[in-house]
Amino acid sequence: SAVISQKPSRDICQRGTSLTIQCQVDSQVTMMFWYRQQPGQSLTLIATANQGSEATYESGFVIDKFPISRPNLTFSTLTVSNMSPEDSSIYLCSAMGSSYNEQFFGPGTRLTVL
């Protein structure tokens, strides 16, 4: 299994600003993902973070709004840009296990935009 940490655990931000969330895995993994969990709802995949290349975004999510970096096999960042109150959510990082058929999740970053 993989142990995943995220920073910050929570933040309160002003409209129009940006926040970068960090995700650290305790072992090298091939696949990393970013999800959004809006209040009272399920998880929605934002993008797959690809090491050494641009992230792959799901429908409804764009790079300008959610730029992602993945400089190596254990680390990724998600930036939420030009935030509005609608961006208030929990943002979760996950990593694919070595057996390629389960995902491990970080504890999440709880973002509130005022």
């Binding site: 995943i4 696949m31 993902f33 709802q41 399920s42 998880l43 995949l45 797959t48 979760l92 996950s94 694919m96 390629y100 058929n101 389960e102 995902q103 491990f104 999740f105 970080g106 504890p107 999440g108 709880r110």
Partner: protein, 114 residues
């Protein structure tokens, strides 16, 4: 794309009673199936998974689930719940041919009462 339906948004149950949380998915293609648990203010933790073989899968904390291909279901059960099982439970599905992409249900909040 898969869709995952968790019919019960909330399930109240008394301690030591049995519980079943229902999950149905849309596609008849070969799938991997998962149940995750999310405790308050925490990330998702894998409870159990079905990849192949026996349709009855046992997981952590005394939970088990049964894969029913004809009914495209993967219901989660526990014969006797504890207060500590109070959490939100998410069913997830991935296609065997596209296992990177997980589809999550809307979640079921299990509330165990003394």
């Amino acid at each position: 794309a898969q869709s995952v339906t968790q019919l019960d948004s909330q399930v109240p149950v008394f301690e030591e009673a049995p519980v079943e949380l229902r999950c149905n998915y849309s596609s008849s293609v070969s799938v991997y199936l998962f149940w995750y648990v999310q405790y308050p203010n925490q990330g998702l933790q894998l409870l159990l998974k079905y990849l192949s073989g026996s349709t009855l899968v046992k997981g952590i904390n005394g939970f088990e689930a049964e894969f029913n291909k004809s009914q495209t279901s993967f219901h989660l059960r526990k014969p006797s719940v504890h207060i500590s099982d109070t959490a939100e439970y998410f069913c997830a599905v991935s296609d065997v041919e596209d296992f990177n992409k997980f589809y999550f249900g809307s979640g079921t909040k299990l509330n165990v009462k003394p």
